[in-house]
């Protein structure tokens, strides 16, 4: 068997591909079905968003932050809002913070649903994808009532949020959560416990805890490797201290700790935790204002600030430098998907080409977030 000489071929899993999540390119060196190397080639979606911030100013940059990660637009909005508030020392009223948390957790639900659905689709089943999108449509309907848009929300402003909760919103949102939880059990029966999924996902792309920390992975990818790190609990921001929720960590019950199945299960469990947070937020929300007084010509004092929030992909970092004028000097976003690209080459040695697709899907890579 070792005498059998084979040739390697170089494949191009090109920018146009049905299952790289966005516009990504991989240069794969494969020996038959088994890969020796998979080099990611990023940059197809670079839109110079960070540079645009220097032209449009602080208020005007808020809609652009939606486009950094369109699946988690509320989190990017919140990150930019918090960065500006920290620069200028503005405090957001309590009700505004609660509105932010509600919007953000709905967005986390939507983002994880999309991730689970597209992972199922990449593995071959098309039904869970449409079911997940159907649930996501209902969340989109709820958010549309709240802020008027379904994908690029532009809901938050510097100092709070732009709209208060409309009348009757709480009942609708709670009814939706009632509806969602049996559906999550259905996903479990359809996806998580299905033998074929387990065989496709377990023991693929195992990332140990030190590797995850060394490669800068964040969010569900990091937690699946056993590291219990969630910005909402460890560096609490906004009003997350008021809520009781667990941080799911990968346990490796289907394979090893840190394999693709763990990443998937962490996301499924986070869906349920987000439901818990939402219920608490919707019932405990106080009265008051939702927006602080912020001048139209927003000129924060010169300085820099750094914000970390827990977005759908993980620890998202916002760094803003102000020079005293109405336009920021430099804005930088640090996203979880960019770090995840770095580990793909290392993990894909010895995997099959079909597993590369599973790996990218389980790392929940969103292309616009990589290139901004």
């Amino acid at each position: 068997m070792s005498e059998f000489s084979t040739e390697e071929m170089t494949l191009n899993m090109g920018p146009q591909h049905p299952s790289t999540h966005g516009v990504l390119r991989f240069i794969i060196r494969a020996d038959g079905e088994v890969m020796r190397e998979a080099i990611p080639d990023v940059g197809y979606l670079h839109r110079s968003i960070e540079k645009i911030a220097e032209k449009v100013g602080y208020h005007g940059f808020m809609p652009y932050t939606d486009r950094v990660d369109y699946v988690c637009a509320m989190f990017t909005n919140q990150g930019w809002g918090m960065a500006c508030e920290k620069l200028a020392g503005i405090e957001v009223p309590k009700r505004g913070e609660y509105c932010r948390v509600i919007a953000a957790e709905f967005n986390r639900l939507a983002s994880h649903l999309l991730s689970v659905g597209t992972m199922a689709m990449d593995i071959g089943a098309n039904t869970p994808f449409t079911h997940a999108l159907r649930e996501r449509e209902m969340i989109n309907d709820l958010i549309e009532e709240l802020c008027g848009a379904r994908l690029t929300f532009n809901y938050m402003r510097i100092g709070g949020v732009a709209w208060d909760l409309p009348p009757g919103y709480r009942e609708k949102a709670l009814a939706y959560l009632e509806h969602l939880e049996p559906i999550l059990d259905e996903y479990d029966s359809l996806i998580s416990f299905n033998k074929i999924y387990v065989k496709r996902l377990a023991n693929i792309g195992i990332i140990s805890a030190e590797e995850a920390i060394n490669f800068n992975l964040v969010g569900p990818n990091l937690r699946a490797s056993g590291v219990k790190w969630d910005i909402r609990k460890d560096i609490p921001y906004s009003v997350y201290n008021d809520f009781e929720f667990e941080v799911p960590v990968g346990k490796g019950e289907w394979g090893t700790v840190g394999d693709s199945m763990d990443r998937y299960m962490v996301r499924m469990r986070e869906l349920r935790e987000s439901c818990k947070i939402l219920r608490q937020a919707l019932t405990k929300i106080p009265d008051g204002a939702v927006l602080a007084k912020v001048p139209r010509n927003f000129k924060p004092p010169a300085g820099e600030c750094q914000i970390r929030i827990e977005s759908g992909r993980g620890d998202m970092g916002w760094y803003a430098v102000s020079d005293g004028t109405g336009y920021p000097w430099r804005v930088h976003v640090r996203t979880g998907s960019f770090a995840a690209m770095g580990i793909i080459n290392k993990l894909s040695r010895g995997l099959m080409i079909a597993d590369l697709v599973t790996l990218i899907a389980s790392l929940d890579v969103i292309a616009p977030e990589i290139d901004r």
Partner: protein
């Protein structure tokens, strides 16, 4: 059909001394054209519409419903659109093989219709090696798929074609082995012979005759799914990995030929399983009129085959695909040993009870009905849990 033509010649319809071979050839041409063009190809088209509707309902959406009443003519629209497309042959591709490959695949799908037992009299050619002919010809797809993969001059197509060849060739073995229990029990390979050995009632079908044939039925179903490149074994056309596998470089009508062959194969899959295990066209003898009996038998045959087609569409919508090495290990490590054990068990069974054991038939049928009732209860459980009122948009 040969007896019918012989009876016509004997009755003197063609004159006193007709050239037999010419008459046979004429009848074969005419009736093959009727069956192939009138039944096989439209079926492949309609089942594409049916598959899209079934998929869509399982996925909570609607599916094509605009073209024609309820969208029934969607496949015609697709066909016309594809015929109007530009015929792209890549420059570096081997043009002759590239153009020939779809036709080989279609050949593999069309030819088995010649031995399809639609009813007790409606069969084009009642070969006495009918079932062997069917399984042998469906394996011709390997040649077409390999040709498509290689001649496209594209690494992704090559991977898809080679995967498909490995898959089809491997799964021929459990398929063939699963046919053996039936052959042992009836002693004949001819399609009509096998059907005549069964009765019309479910407990007379071979699927429930003994536990070994039940297992053989399941293994045959799964192997035929694998041979037809259906999910969960649709790696050669894995849409999320290799764009379209061996058919990546194809466009227009050539592309559609591959898929027409895949959908048409569904009917052949259904026909093989119906003939061998589900009693074929057997219908209770309600009337002596031959024509009415034939019509009823045709109907019941189609009902059984279409149910199996629906089952394979349902499975396609539910299950993800297995990886190539898992597919191979499934075949060689699980299906082949099980079918060997099956074959031996069926041989022992036939040695002990040469004429079958009706009591076991009743017991097996009862067990199967219990399983079915359990299934329906699970379905109702999921249906009730879903809180339907929240599903429907306020606008609908």
């Amino acid at each position: 059909m040969q007896q019918w033509v012989d009876s016509l010649i004997a009755a003197g319809k063609f004159g006193p001394n007709p050239p037999r071979d010419l008459i046979y050839a004429l009848f074969i041409l005419v009736f093959s054209a009727i069956v192939f063009l009138g039944v096989a190809f439209p079926f492949a088209g309609i089942v594409s519409w049916a598959e899209r509707r079934v998929w869509a309902r399982i996925q909570s959406r609607v599916g094509p419903n605009r073209v024609g009443p309820n969208g029934v003519l969607q496949w015609l629209a697709d066909g016309v659109k594809n015929v109007c497309k530009e015929d792209v042959v890549p420059t570096l591709a081997d043009a002759r093989l590239f153009k020939l490959a779809p036709y080989l695949v279609v050949l593999a799908f069309v030819v088995p219709w010649a031995v399809m037992p639609f009813s007790s009299d409606l069969i084009l050619a009642d070969l006495n090696v009918g079932i062997l002919f069917m399984t042998a010809v469906t394996a011709l797809t390997v040649v077409g798929v390999l040709m498509a993969g290689w001649s496209s001059n594209d690494k992704w197509s090559l991977i898809g074609g080679v995967r498909s060849a490995a898959q089809i060739v491997s799964y021929e073995i459990p398929a063939g082995l699963s046919i053996f229990p039936i052959v042992l029990m009836t002693g004949t390979l001819s399609m009509q012979g096998i059907i005549r050995a069964q009765g019309w009632a479910p407990y007379d079908w071979f699927a429930f005759a003994n536990p070994f044939t039940f297992v053989a039925a399941n293994i045959l179903f799964i192997s035929l799914l694998a041979e037809g490149n259906r999910t969960p074994f649709d790696l050669p056309e894995a849409d999320s990995e290799l764009v379209a596998g061996f058919a990546t470089e194809y466009s227009g009508m050539r592309y559609l030929f591959f898929f027409m062959a895949e959908w048409g194969n569904l009917f052949i899959l259904g026909a093989i399983i119906t003939t061998l295990f589900l009693g074929g066209w057997q219908f209770p003898h309600v009337t002596d009129d031959r024509v009415i009996m034939n019509v009823l038998q045709l109907l019941i045959f189609n009902v059984k085959v279409l149910f199996l087609v629906f089952l394979s569409m349902w499975i396609r919508a539910t299950l993800p695909r297995v990886r190539i090495d898992q597919l191979m290990s499934l075949c060689w490590k699980y299906f082949i040993p099980i079918s060997f054990v099956d074959m031996i068990g069926a041989a022992v069974w036939v040695a002990i009870w040469p004429n079958g054991n009706p009591a076991v038939g009743y017991v097996m049928l009862a067990l199967f009905c219990a399983l079915l009732i359990l299934f329906i209860r699970r379905v109702i459980y999921y249906f009730r849990r879903a809180k339907m009122e929240l599903y429907l948009s306020p606008v609908v």
